[in-house]
């Protein structure tokens, strides 16, 4: 047997920590961006740079961030889910309609979560059963269907009149910290663990790069797809609760365009749309970058369409930078 012992010998080495690689991480670019946005904002408004602003502003934009977490998983998996905003709308409508039909509020909220979960599970099942369909087509169809059902149930009108305590979710603070921020942090920790510390997380990365190899390795790929899409549905329903609580009522056209905002945040956060690459931290930073950017431009009385242009430019610029950086390795 020909054995080249010298080249096999040092397999026992530990992973070396490279300071260069540590600082080349995409998250540092995002931290820089966030700092720039905050500096610009503080020029626009002298009141911006205060602890209170930092604590309270996120209340205005964190509602959609709950969808960001499962979307990270979906995109790392190499898939996409554009039905999330419709799921949010349908869940919110079911909650409002059932409450107004006499169902207790707590039960209505449970129905809301159930609706979202079922919507996500349907996406997952469709993808598993009809492998020839892409996730874009499946979730595009259900995006239209879920939104359509919301319209059929409620018609083009608002439904509200929720009990006083329901506004707690969107408006109140616990020990000075907004409740939504607390739930955001809890979700971030849970999804961070799921993605980086569990077998499921590792499998999601693997499937993003090479689903076939995962199948041959005995991974239950269908189960993973089902879980991830179901999670996306559940988290969309959580967004529905916070959004409805904040607005006090709901309509079938709420959360319009959220899916694209969420995908923007995930992409800006360094998650590769071709799958396999990305971490939890980047998209979280991106949530705050885009959130503060919109908020600051709002303070400066810049119109919403201009804000959109700015976000679009930011996205394309940073994704190009990201691609360029990946080539360095």
């Amino acid at each position: 047997m020909i054995a080249d012992k010298k080249s096999v010998a040092n397999l026992d080495t530990q992973r070396v920590f490279s300071l260069k690689e540590f600082f080349l991480q995409w998250e540092w670019v995002l931290v820089g961006l966030l700092v720039v946005v905050i500096i610009i904002n503080s020029f626009i408004s002298p009141y911006f740079l205060s602890f209170k602003t930092f604590l309270n502003t996120p209340m205005t934009f964190l509602d959609k961030s709950f969808i960001v977490f499962p979307m990270i998983l979906v995109i790392i998996l190499g898939q996409i889910d554009i039905s999330v905003a419709s799921t949010t709308a349908l869940s919110a409508v079911i909650m409002a309609v059932s409450y107004n039909a006499g169902v207790p509020m707590a039960l209505s909220m449970a129905l809301c979560l159930l609706t979202g979960t079922v919507c996500g599970a349907i996406n997952g099942l469709l993808l598993i059963k009809f492998k020839e369909l892409s996730a874009v087509i499946v979730t595009l169809s259900t995006m239209i269907i879920y939104r359509g059902i919301a319209y059929i149930i409620l018609g083009d009108q608002a439904s509200g009149g929720f009990p006083e305590w329901f506004s707690f979710f969107g408006w109140s603070t616990v020990l000075g910290i907004p409740f939504i921020t607390i739930i955001f942090v809890v979700s971030a920790v849970l999804f961070g663990i799921l993605l980086h510390k569990t077998v499921l997380g590792r499998t999601i990365y693997g499937m993003g790069f090479n689903k076939t190899a995962c199948t041959y390795s005995g991974i239950k790929v269908d189960k993973v797809i089902f879980i991830v899409f179901t999670l996306a549905g559940l988290m969309s329903a959580i967004t529905a609760i916070f959004l409805t609580s904040r607005m006090g009522s709901t309509r079938p056209n709420v959360a319009m365009g959220y899916e694209l905002e969420v995908i923007t945040m995930v992409a800006l956060g360094g998650v590769s749309t071709s799958g396999g690459i990305g971490r939890i931290g980047g998209p979280i930073l991106a949530v705050f970058i885009i959130g503060f950017l919109s908020y600051g431009m709002g303070l400066a009385n810049i119109q919403a369409p201009v804000v959109l242009v700015a976000i679009g430019l930011l996205l394309i610029f940073s994704v190009l930078l990201l691609k360029f950086r990946r080539k360095q390795f």
Binding site: S7, D12, T212, Y216
Partner: protein, 508 residues
């Protein structure tokens, strides 16, 4: 007329940190087939790219018909009549054969400046006829087999009036029969006056075709010899730099009890009535032409696809294998044919690849156990002598043979009884082949039952205890390896008519 039509002298090519070619020589006579051999990483590919103008050498001189030339891009080389046919055919699968042949130099109407389809198809068909190819120039490229796509590539070379044709491992993806066809075409090209550089790992190719052989090792030139002066031992020792003791060490293994029995396994359109048995410590080879249903049978055993009829007994008990998860639970592992697409996650480090099939076994409440994971992959990488700086190296940076060792490590990570190997030495160099044979032998010694699909006669005869020959979805013959001759196997794989009255059931 100079003696050589192509000469390369003192060629050195540097890449950042690597000397890819180190003072290499090569010359090509008119009308010869010149074999170029060397292990993976010996510099063959870089050398070919130097001839075709993809790379410009840092030092050295290229002479064409005795005159010095400098190719600064592939077009220069093409204009001088040099064409290359690569192992992985680079084609446009959705275009027709004619369009593929004339891509970049389409036939244009003189006045209207539109593509002259009639002329293009006529010429393409002419070229195909010259090569005795029995398909039309209007066929969609993607509908052709790899072998036929290669013929199109050859036609493309001819359409550009190539005088020097470089073939980079053309037989690697071909079946026995198709290989024979390629031999015929290659010889025909030579007889028509072309000079051919033929790169191959297969010794048979070289013996059959080459007039002279040049061998590279570790980016250096080792020598050029007439093919008739080189025997197998010599080629191998020149390539590897040290003599191989023995390719197929005969092990004295006691074959144990029956662990797998396949009974009349059928899948409509793919295979029918396949039966064989596998014992502990036994190596059963499944051979036959590509497309005879070998891979399909084994994929059904592993649960990738499901058989429609027939039974599988594992250790005497009937087993239903609905997916790979079930197969693994039954103790059946599978080494797929395409290690890059089916076997590995190339972007991942070695360690993560090795533990992918066993993550769940070593996790608590679904949490990864990184220490134990690292321990397992270290142990297995060492056991299989994977050559890499450490287990954190990316799988894509490994050579073919070492990638295959990592896929083997994935199998050993689980507690298996039966291992199915689909073309385990496909596309790996001769040194790695020997190492893989060694591994297979060791596994049998440890009590694994091994099913090995292979097209390579030497390894079928050298390794196995029993040979199952498949033809058109049926088992056409069963041999005990001892005493079986290569001719008998080939006869069963290609000629023997089995179940001719029943057909395969594709139409019914």
């Amino acid at each position: 007329m100079p003696e050589y039509i192509l000469e390369l002298e003192h060629i050195t090519k540097l890449f950042p940190g690597v000397k890819a070619l180190d003072d290499v020589h090569f010359n090509l006579k008119e009308g010869e087939i010149h074999g170029l051999m060397g292990e993976n990483g010996a510099g063959k590919s870089t050398f070919i790219k130097t001839i075709t103008g993809v790379y410009t050498p840092n030092e050295g001189e290229i002479r064409l018909y005795g005159e010095k030339v400098i190719f600064s891009n592939p077009l220069d080389a093409q204009k001088c009549g040099i064409a290359a046919i690569y192992q992985h055919v680079t084609c446009y699968p959705d275009l027709t054969v004619a369009e593929n042949i004339f891509v970049g130099h389409e036939k244009i109407h003189k006045f209207s400046r539109k593509i002259n389809w009639k002329e293009m198809h006529a010429q393409a068909q002419d070229l195909l006829d010259q090569l005795d190819a029995n398909f039309s120039s209007k066929t969609r490229m993607g509908d052709l087999s790899v072998a036929r796509q290669q013929i199109v590539e050859i036609a493309k070379a001819l359409s550009m009036n190539a005088k020097i044709i470089i073939m980079d491992e053309p037989t690697a993806a071909l079946s026995l029969h198709e290989t024979g066809e390629l031999y015929r075409i290659t010889e025909q090209l030579r007889n028509d006056g072309a000079s051919i550089i033929f790169i191959s790992h297969r010794l048979e190719d070289i013996y059959r075709l080459a007039d002279r052989v040049t061998i590279f090792r570790d980016a250096s030139y080792i020598g050029t010899w007439p093919a008739s002066e080189l025997d197998q031992e010599k080629i191998v020792s020149h390539m590897v730099g040290r003599p191989l003791t023995k390719m197929f060490p005969k092990r004295d293994i006691h074959i144990g009890e029956e662990i797998l029995k396949v009974e009349n396994l059928s899948r409509t359109g793919y295979f029918r009535d396949v039966s064989f048995t596998l014992h502990k410590s036994e190596i059963v080879a499944i051979t036959g032409l590509v497309g005879a249903g070998r891979t399909e049978v084994c994929e059904s055993l592993y649960g990738i696809t499901r058989a429609d009829a027939g039974n599988i007994y594992i250790a005497g008990e009937k087993a239903v294998i609905s997916d790979p998860v079930a197969a693994l639970l039954h103790g059946i592992g599978f080494l797929p044919e395409d290690r890059q697409k089916q076997g590995l996650i190339l972007e991942w480090e070695i360690g993560k690849n090795i533990t992918l099939p066993v993550l769940e076994l070593y996790s608590k409440y679904g949490m990864l156990n990184k220490n134990e994971e690292q321990e397992i992959s270290n142990k297995l990488a060492k056991r299989l002598a994977v050559k890499a700086p450490n287990i954190f190296s990316c799988a894509s940076t490994l050579s073919g043979g070492n990638q295959q060792k990592v896929v083997f490590a994935k199998l050993l990570a689980r507690d298996l009884k039966i291992i199915i190997l689909d073309e385990p030495t496909k596309g790996v160099d001769i040194g790695a082949k020997a190492a893989i044979y060694e591994i297979i032998g060791e596994l049998a010694e440890q009590g694994y039952g091994i099913i090995m699909i292979s097209s390579e006669m030497p390894e079928v005869l050298g390794l196995s205890d029993k040979i199952v020959v498949m033809k058109d979805g049926h088992v056409s013959a069963l041999f005990t390896t001892a005493g079986t001759k290569q001719e008998e196997i080939l006869h069963a794989a290609m000629v023997k008519n089995v179940y001719s009255s029943q057909g395969l059931g594709v139409d019914s």
